[in-house]
Structure formats: C-alpha cells, structure tokens
Symmetry: C2
Subunit: 482 residues, 2 copies
C-alpha cells in the first residue's frame, strides 16, 4: 500500500475524478452520500474546500439504537463544512423482510433511492459517494468469491451510471484511489470527529469478515495485496471496456428484432462468435430484459452459450428469472415466457372458431393479413402459372357453396396437389414448408366441410385443383394478402 498522501495530493486526486473522469460542471451542485463516517466526511470537506456546492444527504437506516443521534451529529458536521444538509430515513429491517433481501441489500437499495431523489429534487448534477480503495478491494474479493466474471472483478468505476437502479444520474467515487487510512488521517489532521459506526466491526456482516479477517490473511501472502488488487481492478476495467466495444459490434451484427419482452438474434452468426463474445452478448440480452437483475450467474451465462452451440432436441430451455431461450427458423429467441410474438411474416387466425368465407368475400387475420375470395372468368393459363404461393385457383364446379376458414387439428390429413390424390399428414406439410411449431396452431386453412381446400399460402387440395381444359367457365380465386 502506498504511503498516505498529503492533503494537497488528496484534493487533486478528488478534483481529477470530478473534472476529468466525471466531466462535472463547477456551477452545479453535487449531492454527497454522507454517513458522517471518516470517508464521507473527508470527501465532503475536501469537495467543499475545493469550492464545490455540496449537499450532504444522510440516510437513517433505523438499524441501530443511536441512529437518530447520528442524524444530529451528521447535521452538525455538514454545517461545519458549510454544506446544505438533507436527511432521510427508512425501516430497513422491515423492507428486507418484505422484499426477501439481506439487510445489506435492503439498506443499499433504500439509501440509493433516497440519495438519487435528493439529486433530482435539488437540481444537482451527480451523486458523489465516499467509496475508498479499500472498499474497492473488498468489492473485488467479494465478487471473486461469489463468481461474477470480468464485470464483477473490475470492481467499482470512478464514474458510472446505475442502470440497475433505473437512473441516469452519474455516480462518482472521488476517493476510489484513496485509502481508508488516508481519510482517517485527514480527519485527524483537521481535528474532525467522524461518526464511528460500530456495525462496521460486526463480523455477522460478510463484508466486515472480509475486511477484518480475509484481507489481513491475504497480506500474509503478499503485504502489498491491497494495492495489487486495486490496480488489478483498474486494469480489468480497461479490459472490460475493450470487450464491451467488441460486444457492441457483435450485437449490431447479430441482433434481428427487439420487442417488449423479447429479442431475437441470427443463430448462425451467434454460433460463429468466439466464446467470450457470445457470453457477453447473452449477458447483455438478459440484462436488457431484466434490468433489475444485478448479477447474472456465470453458470447461467455458460448454460445459455452452450444452448446456442448445441441446442437440445427440443430447441428450448428455461434460463433464469422467467426467461426462456429457443431457436426457431435459424433465429435465437430470448423471451419472457410467451412474450415473443410470432414474426408477422406468418399468417395467423384471429380466433379459434371457424369463420365462413363468402365468395366474393374476405376473412381478416392477425397483423393485417387477410384471405380474399372472388369468382372470375377463367384466366389464361399463363396468368395462373405466374401467380405465387399466396394465390390459389380452384375449379368452381368442384366446390360446394360454403367455404370456411379455421385451423387444423392434430392428426389432420389432406390430399395435397402434387401427390396424385394420395393423403399426407398436415404435420409433414408443416415440416416440409418449414413452418415453425408455434405458427402451426393458428395457421389459416380454407375448408369445404371436412375437406381442406387450401392450406393458405402453402398448398391446394388435390380435389379442388383447376385442371387444364376444365369445363367450368368460371374459377374461384383465393388470395392471402398482407
């Protein structure tokens, strides 16, 4: 660990984060998260000394008997620094019970909501918090022990936006390269009496055990381990930025569609990505659909990547937090279960009930699709041959009066044109025509009684085909349109 720095050096490090990294505006206020402990007190005083308009915002977690006394002491400390003071409070223990969070998580969540509210309500430009290099080291080690990949191991950033909290306010950490020892020294040298939180020593809290037991133990392996871990975090943050840039590029290449609750990607391109990029892209996709999810488990990401490389027969898996992956038509879907709408390239019925189709007449389908029927004089053969799959020409003489439009049932067979009158299972037709499973149940078929006249857009029934030299002077023309 480097030698404690002089107060001037400390000020200039704080200033560098605010002005260079944070690009903050000298003329606008900054809210400082202010527990009144040595770190936030040092931060408040240094920023006030540099001439920043600081607003000290103190949150009472109601976790300790003396917490309301702390509010008064914090107010005095803020006044001494010449800072405006705001206080907030919340019943953390109750919130934790209700939301099934740990006390630490609940405290963090309530405190940050209060702090960002203070920023919004006071025309401030940013929230500054007193995380030190020691906090950074603890964070990195915590992530290592829990398994969080590069994004966790890089620790906290000097400047960031807290997407997981759903706010667009910069969070700056001007003390991230200052050691706790240095903030304590600063307070001593300036005759300040910071509030000491006894719970910081309570080994019940994971972070405290890490601070008071693990790190000293690691120092027996390398006395400089704190400085090493802090520097590693900086370096990994740089590496992560490179990886993020590469993910941006891959995202642009592979993403096909993005809708409410789902995203689709080009499966073939995904499979060609290097493993690290694929995992990063999947992590980002999950993060987009579940912005509240703070850490996505490495194992889940790995499982998703394996699914992309070697999907099981069913071509679908449940992932995490109600998300599902499936592959269809060379597309990878990530969806909140059932949210991915069918691509509107597929015609789909509006409902389950049969709908009668008059001639002339029309039946509406989903997404602007429709089926129209008309009678016309028999056109020349060339016109018929040049018509596409979305048109059908039927022998008027063979057709009963009434047509209806409805879906197929499992096991339905029909006699398609081209098999000389033999029967085929509809399920085989779906497969040959590459109709995705999800699109089959709602696919529109035109029926005459119990016989399939036309699987819309795909195949005419053998019995109803228009023969060259048919006796009828009129034909029925069906059209699938969008």
């Amino acid at each position: 660990m480097p030698e404690p720095v002089s107060p001037i050096e400390l000020s200039s490090r704080v200033q560098a984060v605010l002005l260079e990294a944070g690009q903050l505006d000298w003329h606008l206020p900054v809210v400082v998260g202010f527990s009144g402990g040595p770190d936030s007190l040092c931060l408040l005083r240094v920023m006030a000394g540099l001439g920043w308009q600081v607003i000290a915002a103190h949150f009472d977690h109601h976790l300790r008997a003396e917490s309301s006394e702390d509010v008064n002491r914090a107010r005095l400390l803020a006044q001494e620094a010449g800072a405006k003071f705001l206080a907030g409070e919340g019943n953390v223990a109750e919130y934790a019970r209700r939301e099934r969070m740990s006390i630490e998580e609940a405290a963090r969540s309530m405190r940050y909501r209060f702090l960002f509210d203070c920023v919004n309500q006071n025309g401030a430009q940013a929230l500054a918090v007193g995380h030190t290099a020691d906090d950074q080291v603890e964070t990195v080690l915590m992530h290592l022990l829990r398994g969080a990949g590069l994004s966790g191991l890089k620790g906290m950033l000097p400047v960031s936006k807290q997407k997981s909290l759903g706010v667009d306010i910069p969070l700056v950490r001007p003390l991230l390269h200052v050691w706790r020892k240095e903030t304590e020294q600063y307070c001593r040298e300036h005759g300040l009496q910071p509030i000491l939180d006894a719970s910081n020593a309570d080994p019940q809290f994971y972070r405290n055990r890490l601070r008071h037991e693990l790190i000293p133990f690691l120092e027996s392996y390398n006395p400089a381990v704190r400085a090493v871990v802090a520097r590693t975090a900086d370096v990994l943050a740089g590496d992560l930025a490179v990886v993020e840039d590469a993910i941006d590029a891959a995202w642009g290449d592979c993403k096909l569609e993005e809708g409410p609750g789902f995203q689709t990607f080009d499966w073939k391109l995904l499979r060609a990505l290097p493993g690290g990029l694929l995992r990063g892209l999947l992590r980002r996709a999950v993060g987009n659909l579940r912005p509240g999810l703070r850490d996505i488990d490495l194992e889940d990401v790995q499982r998703a990547a394996q699914f992309v490389s070697k999907p099981p027969r069913s071509r679908a898996i449940d992932l995490v937090a109600g998300l599902r992956l499936f592959i269809e038509e060379e597309r990878l879907y990530i969806e909140e279960k059932g949210k991915a709408s069918l691509p509107d390239q597929w015609p789909q019925l509006l409902g389950q009930e049969p709908v009668s189709l008059s001639v002339p007449g029309q039946v509406e389908l989903r997404n602007g699709w429709s089926i129209r029927a008309e009678t016309m004089r028999q056109p020349d053969w060339r016109t018929i041959e040049q018509s596409g799959e979305n048109e059908a020409w039927l022998d008027d003489a063979e057709l009963p009066d009434r047509l209806s439009v409805r879906c197929a049932k499992a096991g339905d067979v029909f006699q398609p044109l081209g098999l000389g009158g033999r029967s085929q299972k509809l399920s085989d037709l779906w497969i040959n025509a590459k109709v995705p499973r999800r699109a089959r149940a709602g696919w529109p078929l035109v029926w005459a009684g119990e016989q399939v006249v036309w699987v819309a857009g795909l195949r005419v029934g053998h019995a109803f085909r228009l023969r060259e030299g048919s006796a009828s002077s009129h034909v029925i023309h069906l059209m699938l349109k969008k």
Copy 2:
C-alpha cells in the same frame, strides 16, 4: 465443487481435450509429464486406456533423498500402463543458485526443457501434463495475489503453446476440468499406488500454503469457491481471447516498423486507443522484445501507458528489463537501449572524419544514400525552381576548389539562404526542420573550409546561393540521392 465423476465420464473429458480442443492425431505419440503422482498416473492410465501411444517422461529434480527411488517406481508404474518410459535428471538446487531463481522456478524450467526435448526426440506431437482443476484454482489465486491482470487471472489453458519457453509444441492439460479428488479416487478404484511427494505438504512452498491454508479459509466464505474460481478462469480466458483479437487489430493499425531489438508505432493512433487496448498492445510489444520475461508487472505496463498519454519533457523513459520507450517524430519507439536504428529516411554519414567531395564526384552515406556533385551549364531558372529540397544549385564563382562532407559540431552557426545573410544556430535549423535528435550528429553537411555550403536536403548557405543573372556561365549542382 461438483461430485466426483465416473471413470467413463473422466475418460470422455480427457478425450474431448485431446481431440476437440487439442486437435491431436490419434496415430502419433504423446509425451506425458509423469511424476508418478495421482494426477499424472491417472492421466497416463486414462490415455493409455483410450488407445493413445503414450510416452511417460519422468524428471528427477534431485531435491529429495528418495528421488532416485521414485524414478524406479515411476518406471514400474509406466510399464504397468503399457507406456514407454523416459527418465531425465538435473541438479535443480544448483541451477537455481546459478540462475538466481526460486527452487520452484528452476525446477519448472529444467523439467519443461527435458519434457519438450522428449517430444522432439521421439517424434511425438504434444506434451500432456496432469494439471487439475485444483492446480488451476491455485494458479489463479497466485496470480491474483501477485497481480498479473487478465492474462494471469485466466489461469492455464487446456491447450497452449509455451512461447516463453521458445517452443512451438502444443502443451495439453486434459485434466484441467477434473478435480484432484477425482484423480485420487480413480487411482484407488484401479488399485494403483501413486508416488506421494512429501514436499507437496511442505508449507515452505508458497503454492502449498495456498493449497492447504488459503483455499480452505476461502471455503469458509463460500464452500463452492473452488468451482467458482475454476469457472471464472474459463470465462476470463474467453474474455482475454476477445481482448487479444482487438489487440491484433490495433497492432495492425498502429505498428510502423519492427527490427532487431526495436519496434515503432504511430504515436497519434496509440493515444487514441482505449486504455485496455493500449496496455495490451504495449504488453505484447514488451513480450516480443523479451520473450523470456514471464510476467510483465501491471505497474510497468501502466507506467508505459501513462508515458504514451503524457510523456515527460525528455520524451523517454526506461521501462523494464533493459527496454526503453521514447517518442520521436510522432513515433513511439520501444527498444533494447540503443538498438533502434534511425529510420532510413534520414541521410547519415558513414563515419566521423571529413570526406572530400570532388566536382564531379560522389560521397557515399549510410543506407544507400549519397551526395553527388557535378558542374553544368547554367540551366533555365524554371528547372532550378522546380527542383526539390534534395538538390542545390550553387554559384560556381563563389565556391573554392575544395568541398568536403562532414557533420556539424555543437554550437555551429551558419548563414542560411532566406535570412538575408544573417546567422542562425544549426540547432534551430534542426528543430524547424523536425530532424530527430538522434539524426543530428550524423547529418551530412557540405563544407567549403569552415563555411557551410549546404545542409544536405535542408538549406543552402546564403553566400553560395545562385543569384538570378549571376555572371558565371556554369553552376555546381549538388544532389542528395537514395
């Protein structure tokens, strides 16, 4: 930690590394680094059982009294597996003293040299070693404690080439996803008696303390910490591959020249790189010049990156292992001190002594440059105006008989054309013309006695300029050529 796997599952994991990741050829032998301990014994037996032609290579480090006894036991174990056996030995303690290495480093260095020799001398395709998932976890933690960035934290790879050992033979680690517990269980279930190395318990060795003290301590924080760290290594290896691809691209963009002992880069492009890429590129440049250097300290890389962003006034720093960084003409040089040759775009004298220049005549310079002199009839003014900086037209009448070519001395002044006969320091000319400091001492000047006639390629002396309407019918034409 996952449950121990069945022997079949273990075999198939080994086979996957050999065939899929390693792309090894079934028909060619593989050398197995064979201590005779549970890991390498398990590896040897599993590979032999899968039908691979294995050669067990055992190295006697002479570090323990019973080591020669171990050689005999290892031979028997190899024979039982149906493997060819090779033995090698070396005095590690003495080597460590001589090369000023730790015992562990020296042992590793000698052992690998022997193992790769075995590969070369036996027509083998690869070296397989018995590193397990536990070794991986220990390696990652060791790198974390020492500070080695992503390339260290990613741990060992299932397949790699050991550039630092200067060999191009694949090193495969088929047990990298198998736990030590599983190799031990394999040995028990097959009634094998591996050689147990008592030094594995010796807490004098850093790695052993890590194994027996640190990891169990970390398990008190997260019982699954080993599995977490092993998975983290896999994920970071993927991230590193993404970063390496990006470095490849940046390297292609920024690298200008590569010679024996030096490399040059476009400084402007380097400064525009994101920090992570810049550091990766610098790390690679150092690695190219010093392939023996195993780990480049994060701090050195950081220092080099800071130099690129904000070079000191001198525009040069010493880096590490006798390497120097300097900036010249918008180029960043990384060199073994004094190795970077001047770019051959600069004309330089062959030696220190003055060389006489006859008219007509020629003086040879370095790198194929030369200065030629000729007398000619005065050309039309247009020809003169259109000639470039590498030609000089002088008034025959003003010149003495003898010209010579030599360098300038510190403090030399001359009367350049264009200042109306006033004097200028040569050092000012160098700066204005952006001649790099290193090129000044050897720069060729044409002299008439103690007067500068021509600073080759840059400026003619005022006194010798050709005036319009000069009385001379002849001129002297000097040319700097390459």
